[in-house]
């Protein structure tokens, strides 16, 4: 998969006021700054820096991360749902890439 492609998973249905788990996996190398062993040249880092979790366009959480997070980051976080709506994640990396992903959740 291309860099930045993501999978966002939430339960399809939930009860009002339930705390659900939002899970995501994003394809990204998350490489730290390092020296090329052959040429000794600096290779700049390439990592995701920020991920916003939104529910119905309201900001729930902001996750900041660095090269300490494993390649192809997996993240799970809690979200309390009161109404049906759209879970959205917006994430960016240090090379200017910006992506977003949405998932619907039906609250009964």
């Amino acid at each position: 998969m291309a860099i930045g492609a993501g999978i966002l998973r939430v339960p399809k249905e939930a009860k009002k006021g339930e705390v659900v788990r939002v899970q995501m996996v994003i394809t990204h190398p998350m490489s730290p700054p390092r020296k090329d062993p052959a040429t000794g040249q600096e290779i700049p880092p390439h990592t995701l820096t920020k991920l916003d979790l939104l529910f119905n366009d309201k900001l729930v959480s902001t996750i900041n991360m660095g090269a300490g997070v494993s390649a192809n980051p997996f993240i799970a976080i809690a979200l309390k749902v009161e109404d049906s709506g759209v879970v959205k994640i917006v994430y960016e990396d240090n090379k200017g890439g910006k992506w977003e992903k949405t998932a619907d959740i039906k609250v009964t």
Partner: protein, 148 residues
Amino acid sequence: MNRRKFLALSAVAVMGLAMVPGVQPAHASTPRLEEELKKRLGVSLAQIKEVPDVKLTAPTIAESGANVPVTVESTIPIERVEHLWIFVDKNPVPWIADVKLTPMNGQVFFSTRIKMGETSNVRAILKLKDGSYVMATKEVKVTAGGCG
């Protein structure tokens, strides 16, 4: 080797293992970690209280340092929690990730996979609304480092 000799030898070997100063107290810190805590939290490790309310789940022995699953949970109500950090003491950059939490999260729960260069303490630190910090610490043994 007869039985008596074997027993004597293994007794010596076990003694030797027990002598290895591998286990460090939870509050032993590294300069890199202190520096990072000062920069990002503005407090030193001694000012952060270790509490049982914060639960940090991580393997005791990690198969690979490149991919260590870490889960932070807490029974502290979300309304009282502001921010969450994950640190690894001995990594080149001890700061791993931090999360701004709001009441819309409903619960303190965060899980991810992290890189570890060597055997080290992993720490989950929560900032509470009243300005205090609490944490949970767990030592993870790493056989193959994952920082390049």
